[in-house]
């Protein structure tokens, strides 16, 4: 008996891949055959040792004895394996960004998301268990007719955050400015415009900050050039698009940062919030979707962001008022400790119940 996982894509540093790898460690303790499968064309060659191409699925998985978990995040050919599987089935939903966010800048991505949403609708009622990585995501599925959905909060392996920070990035921590960090892919729902607007207010206030935006704009290059144009037009001198970075460099950015700023309007969980907590950064985040659930009462939640001057003043207060800064970080540490003390093996055992595992 083994629990196999199906993912639409497998990339180093990707939150869903990281979760699948973390779950696989537990499933392999139960059965060494437990595997992760991914379509060959979206499988990063660096992960070949850990993730199997989908073509090998039929040779390894046995519907009479095994259970499969489908990580549902976007339209994918891997869903065919799920549909044809006659054994025990679980869906783990990671949320699909509403396509409207992409229809202007990346119509092809919008189309993929649309087909993903359509597949989510079609898969209702096909699984023995349905899980989601936040209550927000669970509610979304229940509204689509999925029946009761259990929550398995996103599993973020935190050990990679212990990698030594790359030394050459530490240069941004020269102490001359407070570093405001955002980590996330260049998607319009992340509202980089609002981050830039807040940095513009801070620069006009002559409060020394530096905005560091770490993440890939692959597929949304037009959005990136628009944002760069916006920063230029606003006359910003300290807004930096740092692009995607390997883990050691990402750790260096977290180490160099003084505050984590997130103005995203659509998040199914938002793993960087937990990562920012690991690096003890005070968080200022917009109240959207699963963000309040992930923060669970910690950080500074922004309910309305029309006034960039007000958010800029909060950032300044957090930098200049050590008592407030300390209190926010203390509360976040308690939240992080709650997140870390979960017993994942027990959670999975309870969620799988009588399914083979």
């Amino acid at each position: 008996m083994a629990v196999h996982q199906l993912v639409a894509g497998a990339r180093l540093g990707d939150a869903i891949t990281n979760e699948a790898l973390a779950l696989a460690r537990i499933f392999r303790e139960w059965s060494p055959q437990a595997s992760i499968f991914c379509p060959s064309k979206t499988l990063d060659p660096k992960l070949h040792a850990k993730v199997m191409p989908a073509e090998t699925f039929d040779q390894i998985a046995d519907p009479a004895k095994d259970t499969i978990i489908l990580h549902l995040s976007i339209g994918s050919s891997i869903h065919e394996l799920y549909r044809n599987w006659s054994g025990a089935r679980v869906i783990l939903y990671h949320n699909i960004t509403p396509p409207g966010w992409f229809s202007a800048v990346a119509p092809a991505t919008a189309q993929l998301l649309r087909s993903g949403l359509e597949e989510v609708r079609q898969l209702a009622g096909t699984a023995h268990r349905v899980w989601a990585d936040s209550r927000f995501n669970a509610n979304e599925l229940e509204a689509l007719g999925y029946g009761p959905v259990e929550v398995l909060p996103l599993v973020i392996p935190l050990d990679h955050l212990e990698l030594p920070p790359a030394p050459h990035i530490r240069a941004v921590a020269d102490g001359s400015r407070a570093n405001l960090l955002f980590v996330g892919r260049g998607a319009p729902n992340k509202r980089f415009e609002d981050l830039i607007r807040i940095q513009a207010a801070l620069e006009r206030m002559e409060f020394p900050t530096r905005l560091l935006l770490v993440g890939s704009f692959g597929g949304t290059e037009l959005y990136a050039s628009l944002l760069q144009g916006m920063a230029k037009e606003l006359g910003l001198r300290h807004c930096h698009f740092e692009g995607p970075r390997p883990q050691a460099e990402l750790n260096a950015y977290y180490t160099a940062a003084d505050l984590f700023l997130c103005m995203s309007e659509h998040e199914g969980f938002c793993a960087p919030l937990i990562e920012a907590m690991v690096f003890d950064l005070p968080i200022v985040a917009f109240d959207a979707c699963a963000v309040p659930e992930t923060l669970a009462g910690s950080g500074v939640l922004v309910k309305e962001k029309d006034n960039p001057w007000l958010i800029a003043e909060m950032i300044r207060e957090l930098q200049e008022n050590p008592t407030l800064n300390q209190a926010v970080r203390d509360r976040q540490r308690r939240r992080l400790s709650e997140y870390q003390k979960r017993d994942l093996t027990a959670e999975l055992n309870a969620l799988l119940g009588d399914l083979p595992h």
């Binding site: 206030m205 606003l234 939640l301 209190a327």
Partner: protein, 170 residues
Amino acid sequence: MSTPDAPPARVFDVQLPDVNADALEQRLRERAAARAGLSAGGTELDEIVRKFDLKSVRNEEEFLRFFMDRLQELHQVDINDFPIQSHRGLVGRPIRLLKSTLWKLLKFYTYRLFSQQNQINAQLAAALDALLRKSEDRIRKLEARIAELEGETHPAANKAKQPEQANGGD
């Protein structure tokens, strides 16, 4: 409906037992109001942000026009003199002097190159804009022609469609 004296809704949710969140927010509001009022940049910032905000763009066609308009404003690279500053205190002065000298020495060389590049950028932006306008115009004409032809070949079907279109909302 809120009463005229009702306090504005809280913008920040800070759940800390030892922090008076109301007082904190009030203090920040006062400071922000003073900043926005004092700074001539307040409205200018809003205008630029509005101009670049993607929320006003609904589809790919609108985005191309939106992007082209921004490109027309941004293609000119600023090659003028700029204040060279340093935050390094005493050490900063010789660094600033060195950078200013280098800039002045290299200007005769770089200015020519950069201004030529600016000319090319301007020509490319204008050419792209002309191409986009031409294709927009062509698509408009083709769409009109298709509608006309559909009207000629399927007059009954088009007639039947009319009530549906009238009830189609926006």
